[in-house]
């Protein structure tokens, strides 16, 4: 490229993206004419977690790994436990253990999805992307719709109480262990949840309806916003049913064609590879058969609803059908459809919790099993934010020698870069960089509900930093927020 052309380029940095869990940074590379040339969603922290567990004992992993994320610790707790089931040879854990883990997982998904919708996404949807920051936050939601906000708080609490009852603590419990669980659910504990489950289900349906209503009202705008075609990856049950806790991996192309299906966890490396790019600490996973350029994919609620054949709970299934009708049965490739898909899963989780609470297996006392000891354990789970892979190698002294985790946000890495690019092209090109416009980008990223602390395993707080940098590295303009 000619030297003169690069000289005129500017870089705009938004740092961090507010109201995303954890921290991230966006840079927009502009050319001479102020057109978006490239957009990157940076992860600035380091990744060190896999090293911490090396040398530790395999039964410690479920308890240690959940600490790399304060936001969805249960997903890590369960994914590690499932990998350790393989290590201890527990090919089929007891019904009580599996149902307790499922209850824990649906409780986690329920509270995470409820919180995301009300606290993180509804301000955008209710007040518009251009609304000033003072107007577009959860406090404003509380003022505008106090009942909705109260429901959000109580739904989150309900989910957290389920986590506590199954896991021992609301955050960082120890309930799930290699080969099973260390507790069941007593009748008293169950009855507390049974009492409120119908209300929770009702509120979930209300949240879904609210999300659906807003989306359909602004359908043309919202579904076009940050839309781009992609592959979709997630786990499904053997019969193709949505299953957030266990199943085999399936990948679908943007047009709905199956790329692979029923892949077992142990074989994940044959199908998924991870690319390292010099400017990011977070890897970029892709489908091997399609290569780096074409093989990237989306995970999470949208991908899951897109790839599954049906949902085994009645309300969520009806809603899925309505949702899929938007694309005539083909995958929906709109970023903003994540919110709707997430709400279908919220309802599904509530339905599943209800089903489980009425299952007396939860009161069983056979909690742990084991079989032939192995040295390699791979497992996955559909975390609220998408597929989460855990892979461990364990030596004969019971110590972990290798850990490889591909977390949900990493799986969505390229997709989030794309949404930044698309939204920037749609809304920022050649225009003045206003707060509202910058927020369009945040809104796009937020649809993916990225959890950056977990994707990069780091600590640290940063203020919002907007930077305009010339091609020679000189700072042309700078703006701080917060």
């Amino acid at each position: 490229m000619a030297k003169t052309a690069t000289q005129g380029k500017r870089k705009i940095t938004i740092n961090p993206v507010t109201r995303v869990e954890g921290h991230g940074k966006v840079t927009l590379h502009l050319d001479d004419a102020g057109h978006i040339e490239q957009a990157r969603f940076h992860i600035i922290e380091f990744r060190g977690f896999e090293r911490f567990v090396q040398g530790r004992f395999y039964w410690e992993a479920p308890t240690i790994v959940q600490r790399l994320c304060g936001i969805c610790p249960v997903s890590h707790h369960l994914a590690a436990s499932k990998a350790m089931d393989v290590i201890v040879g527990a090919d089929k854990i007891t019904p009580t253990a599996e149902k307790m883990r499922r209850l824990m997982h649906y409780g986690q998904t329920f509270q995470s999805h409820a919180m995301h919708f009300y606290h993180l996404c509804s301000p955008d949807l209710l007040f518009g992307f251009d609304a000033p920051v003072e107007k577009r936050n959860v406090i404003a939601v509380i003022e505008a719709a106090p009942e909705t906000a109260t429901h959000a708080v109580l739904m989150r609490k309900y989910g957290q109480e389920i986590i506590k009852a199954t896991c021992g603590k609301k955050v960082h419990g120890t309930g799930s262990i290699p080969g099973g669980m260390n507790k069941n659910l007593s009748i008293e504990e169950r009855d507390v949840f049974l009492k409120d489950i119908d209300t929770m289900l009702e509120w979930s349906v209300e949240a879904l309806n609210l999300c659906k209503k807003i989306t359909l009202e602004k359908k043309d705008f919202l579904l076009a916003f940050g839309a781009f075609d992609s592959n979709h990856v997630g786990i499904v049950r053997e019969d193709g049913c949505l299953d957030l806790y266990d199943g085999k991996l399936r990948a679908k192309a943007a047009d709905g064609a199956i790329i692979f299906d029923q892949v077992a966890p142990a074989d994940y490396l044959d199908y998924i590879a991870e690319e390292v790019r010099p400017w990011s600490y977070m890897k970029f996973p892709f489908i091997r058969s399609l290569g780096k350029e074409k093989g990237w994919y989306r995970v999470g609620p949208l991908a899951r609803i897109n790839i599954c054949d049906y949902i085994d709970t009645p309300i969520a299934e009806k809603e899925r059908q309505e949702f899929m009708a938007l694309g005539g049965g083909k995958p929906i490739n709109a970023s903003m459809a994540y919110h709707w898909a997430r709400m279908i899963e919220l309802v599904h989780s509530a339905e599943k919790i209800k089903e489980l609470l009425n299952d007396s297996d939860l009161q069983g006392d056979k909690l742990v099993t084991s079989g032939k000891r192995r040295n390699r354990g791979v497992a996955w789970i559909e975390a609220p934010r998408g597929t989460l892979f855990h892979h461990y190698e364990v030596n004969d002294r019971d110590q972990i020698t290798l850990a490889n985790l591909i977390v949900s946000t990493t799986n969505n890495n390229e997709a989030m870069n794309r949404v930044v690019q698309v939204v920037a092209k749609q809304y920022l090109e050649g225009k003045e960089i206003t707060e509202g416009l910058l927020n369009h980008i945040e809104v796009g990223i937020r649809a993916y509900d990225p959890c950056l602390s977990c994707a990069t395993h780091a600590l640290g707080q940063m203020r919002l930093h907007v930077q305009l940098v010339g091609a020679d590295g000189a700072v042309l303009d700078e703006k701080y927020r917060g």
């Binding site: 004992f57 039964w59 308890t63 896991c167 262990i177 742990v368």
Partner: protein, 238 residues
């Protein structure tokens, strides 16, 4: 109580004891808890940790080794001694590498429980971050020296209860560490997981493998009651 019983006071409370008892034993029998770490009722006292420091007629002494005597005045539950004990616990924390949140001993660890009982919040002393070796060579037991407080219980239990010599101390001062009777690791000693030594460690240092987290949170020994409650219960009961 036999006729040659001795009588003394602990914090002003009259205690009767047999002449061959230590202050700790007499206090336990009377339902008075004196904090301790290296002491174990089935072992001869080691007098290592000094957490059991009391004042006897005004002078500091180890309750676990000091014999009772008629008329002695023992101070135990005072702010001064509590602060001293808290300092010892704090030193034990910063001298090792203790990651309680993920440690499988959490909730049953005597060091952790003592910190709670003595209201040690966050250590103020600087962490030493020592480099210590983990010994995973034994098929059924591991030794995570990061969590060792050099209490010597394992050393005494191996000799006194198991008739073996699996453990010992090596080096002095800050370099002191728990050692095993083999240059190639614990796997090459005659330790068995059934030995008393294997399950007598007050912390998560010497631990039976594959038993971690089997007890749910809420059901672990110190989840609901502070350490020493079992002894104090005796007093409450009568």
């Amino acid at each position: 109580m036999s006729k040659d019983a001795v009588t003394f006071t602990i914090d002003g409370v009259e205690v009767k004891a047999k002449p061959d008892q230590t202050i700790m034993e007499a206090a336990d029998a009377a339902g008075i808890y004196i904090p301790r770490l290296c002491y174990h009722k089935d072992l001869l006292p080691g007098g290592h940790c000094r957490v059991c420091t009391v004042r006897v007629n005004g002078r500091p002494a180890n309750a676990c080794t000091f014999p009772v005597n008629s008329g002695i005045v023992v101070e135990n539950d005072t702010e001064e001694l509590k602060a001293l004990r808290r300092d010892i616990i704090e030193m034990l924390f910063v001298e090792g590498n203790h990651y309680c949140p993920s440690c499988e001993a959490s909730g049953k660890c005597e060091l952790q429980a003592m910190a709670y009982r003595l209201e040690l919040l966050t250590p103020q002393m600087p962490y030493a971050w020592p480099k210590r070796e983990l010994d995973a060579t034994h098929p059924d037991v591991y030794l995570d020296r990061d969590r060792c407080i050099l209490c010597g219980r394992c050393v005494r239990a191996s000799v006194q209860l198991d008739g073996k010599r699996v453990f010992g101390f090596e080096n002095r001062g800050a370099q002191k560490r728990i050692a095993v009777d083999s240059a190639t690791g614990m796997g090459d000693t005659d330790l068995s997981a059934k030995d008393r030594a294997a399950s007598i460690c007050p912390t998560g240092c010497l631990t039976i493998k594959r038993q971690g987290y089997l007890t749910p949170v809420g059901k672990r020994p110190y989840d609901k009651v502070p350490i020493g409650s079992d002894i104090e219960k005796k007093q409450a009961a009568g």
